[in-house]
Amino acid sequence: MGDPTMTVDQKNDQENDPLLAIRGLSVSYPGRPGPVLAVRGLDLDIHSGEIVALVGESGSGKSTTAHAVIGLLPPGGRIDAGSIQFGAHDLARLSHRELRVIRGAGIGLVPQDPAVSLNPVQRIGDQVAEVLRIHRLAGRGEAAAAAVDLLERAGLPEPRTRARQYPHELSGGMRQRALIAIAIAAKPRLIIADEPTSALDVTVQRLILDHLDQLTAELGTAVLLVTHDLGVAADRAQRIAVMSRGRIVETGPTARILDDPRDPYTRSLLRAAPSLSATRDLRPVVSARPAAALTKTVPSADSDAGKNGAQHGSRDGGQEAAALTPAAPAGTNGARPLVVADNLVKDFPLPRTAGGARTLRAVDEVSFTISPGETLALVGESGSGKSTTARLVLRLADPTGGRILFDGDDVTRAGGGRLRALRRRAQLIYQNPYASLDPRFTIDEVITEPLRVFHVGDRASRAARARDLLDRVALPASVLERRPAELSGGQRQRVAIARALALAPELVVCDEPVSALDVSVQAQVLELLGELQSDTGVAYLFISHDLSVVRQIAHRVAVMRSGRVVETGTTTELFAHPEHEYTRTLLDAIPGTAYAHHATPAPAPGPA
């Protein structure tokens, strides 16, 4: 798919006749002072059988562009200018009735979130067959049979059974396959895939995209792939168009964009993309040695040296980190590990069913240690038990079995005052900064709440502490009086970090702290977490599904699957020599690796 020569051939064939030609497209939404321009004068061509990726951060206008093409702009959205030539039609000027003929039959859509994009009260088979019925491509019985075939083509096992099931009985990956079956049903010439896999686990993501690639190649369907993930674009697309603030800032063949980005925005996006940057230029944001070891012996000056060392040679850093395996914790004043999880088990009761299991073992004999100032990453797919493990460590859930030691103190059954003491020393940063801050609190109240709860200081000293914390997370003090709704996602997550650090905890559990953020913001937040660690010596338990993010932040990694830890190791070791098969699958599934393997070693000659 990433083969540039194929692009050349296709270009020669269809140079004069693009399948989709967007010219000067402008789209606006009604806004408070005046209309908000979401897309400004956009030009884009897609040729038959070509995969073009439209890449950009949230708010760049990429989804609006995709929806304008299929005539499904959200309420209020309006095409102000430009044309969308698809075959003989200008989609921007068609009536609703005329557009309906093209939707489904001429242009298919693979939507963003498979969890909510299927009608929950209709059988899967009926939903696939509906496309054929609408466009009168088949009778009732024929359509039902065709739906089963389509589900099979989309890669659903036991398609006959699936056709009779309802969406809630299928996993996210299977639902996305059903949606792909809907999109390809009427053999459209163009498929718009709007972030088709960003809601799925990486391994599932890879299978789905592989399958979509294969299907569209067989059918000769062109794909407009809308994605925020440059890695996905790099692996899948022949051409990439980079969008920012409603405009395409750069467009070109995939290899050219990645190897020779000309626009400064593309360059910054490339730098921020964790999967691509990690494979090209390893630049961990944490010091290779746990910060506590450094700050306790020689303060700050040395921690900079540690960071430099990591930047100069990762091999060196790797060896240092390797020396810090849990068996031989850092030789700092004979310090004991901050956290010891010993054979943790957590069972959840299941609803009673005939012959079914009574309980679900979410966490199964999980053991690990975290040294002071160290970052341990728990990596796994959804349902692997990583978040439950984190909740056990924080004592937000009670373990069914096993022990938790915090700073040598057994807190497994601690309650009352001892539990309160633990709450003070161990804090949590949630995944979604939009939901984890009370919308009615000012930022000042958000940050000082932990201080008020624990009666730390007086009003003046708490205010001073809030300003200090904001400064640390690089937010201006003027933010104090605002409310969460007035801040961007990245700013909110900074506030959440400031709140977590308010009590100067020794452990912060970060539950997917950057997965809701745009890549460039992601990079900034990760960098901030790294800096704070080297300044304060806090230890992180970092939960993530994203190995490329983990690579930048963690000293050690524990890979979880079905409630068990299948492999533990230092980050360098684990990425270089994964031992467990599942770890290798996860590593291979990181978007951008296909590109890195095929393209980087021998840069393809740019097509003339």
Binding site: R103, G108, Q112, L118, N119, V121, Q127, E130, H168
Partner: protein
């Protein structure tokens, strides 16, 4: 499935008992005395012979402590015997059975008209593309909810009985006599169904699966009927269940306004003369209807939404918002509306 139905039936019995008890206590606390009211037959009870009253009190057991009276009546009620009406001397069950048909006709027709017009209104309001038409249609339900039923009844009588003499103003005169009261009855359920269904339809139309349907090339009507409507039906069904309790209370007002015979009239009269056995019979019957209707509705949910399994409905995460998950709560609500409205009308 059967376990679930049995459990729900057990709950229904509990609700019925609670309804009976609450009514008994409320009526006991009301000022006035049933025997003097009965003996006086609406006149000043000063002139009646006190010995006579004492005799009657003893005959009906009113001279015994409240608790004794309560258990006496409760054990009889358990055997299906709600006693005899204090004012008419007929058995409560025959009084209720006689009054039931006209009230059933009234509430049944009223509910049907209400649900149909409310459903159509909601559909039209969410289907139309004209903004002002949609806003206009969507503002009708709040009007219907806020205007009192008796006022609408009086207006209808003014217009259709006195001005154009199309329908009779009062009485139990066949279908023609039923139209005006039924329309009056339909206003509240119609308005509530329209409001809830319109809101659910708008929610469903904003869901991503609607977009998927549109992307298939489906037209507006198909999107509306095949995709949005079925997803929007559950909250509407729930509100219909709650409304059955409200209908009983409305029957009191409407039957009085239109001078119709029926359960509502009997209730109002019984409360006025503190005919406790009749009032209790009405309350227990109303509660029974309410609990039954809501049990049926809960059993229908899984047919409409495959995500809801019978039996797990109480805890199911997929249960639609705005659905009362506890039948006891709903039953209690109906009881309080019936008791509240009857007690209110006795003043």
């Amino acid at each position: 499935m059967w376990r679930y139905v049995l459990r729900r039936l057990a709950q229904a019995v509990g609700v019925l008992w609670a309804a009976y008890t609450v009514t008994f206590l409320v009526l006991d606390f009301l000022p006035g005395d049933p025997v003097s009211a009965m003996a006086g037959a609406g006149m000043d009870s000063q002139g009646i012979d006190p010995a006579q009253i004492e005799k009657l009190r003893h005959q009906y057991g009113f001279d015994q402590p409240v608790l004794v009276q309560y258990f006496h009546y409760l054990t009889k009620a358990l055997r299906g015997d709600f006693g005899t009406s204090v004012s008419t001397n007929r058995s409560v069950s025959s009084v209720l059975l006689d009054a039931l048909p006209p009230t059933l006709a009234l509430t049944g027709l009223g509910l049907t008209i209400g649900v149909l017009t409310g459903g159509l209104l909601a559909f039209a309001a969410t289907y139309t593309n004209h903004r002002w038409l949609r806003q206009g249609l969507l503002s009708l339900p709040s009007l219907g909810v806020s205007v009192p039923g008796f006022w609408i009844g009086l207006m209808l009588v003014q217009l259709f009985s006195f001005r154009i003499r199309l329908f009779p103003a009062f009485g139990n005169d066949g279908l023609r006599g039923l139209i005006l009261p039924a329309v009056t009855m339909a206003v509240l359920p119609g308005a509530m169904v329209a409001q809830i269904l319109a809101r659910s339809l708008l929610t469903a139309l904003a869901e991503p699966y609607t977009q998927t349907a549109q992307a298939k090339g489906a037209g507006r009507l198909r999107v509306h009927l095949r995709h949005a409507l079925r997803n929007a039906l559950l909250p509407t069904l729930t509100i219909i269940g709650v409304l059955t309790g409200q209908l009983m209370a409305n029957a009191v007002v409407i039957e009085t306004v239109f001078s119709r015979n029926g359960l509502g009239r009997i209730t109002a009269a019984a409360v006025n003369v503190q005919d406790i056995p009749v009032v209790q019979g009405v309350v227990v019957f109303g509660t029974f209807v309410f609990v039954t209707v809501n049990l049926v509705i809960d059993l229908v949910y899984p047919l409409l939404d495959p995500r809801i399994a019978v039996g797990s409905a109480r805890r199911g995460p997929a249960r639609p918002r705005g659905t009362p998950s506890d039948p006891t709560l709903g039953g209690g609500l109906a009881t309080s509306t019936v008791v509240g409205s009857t007690a209110g009308s006795s003043r």
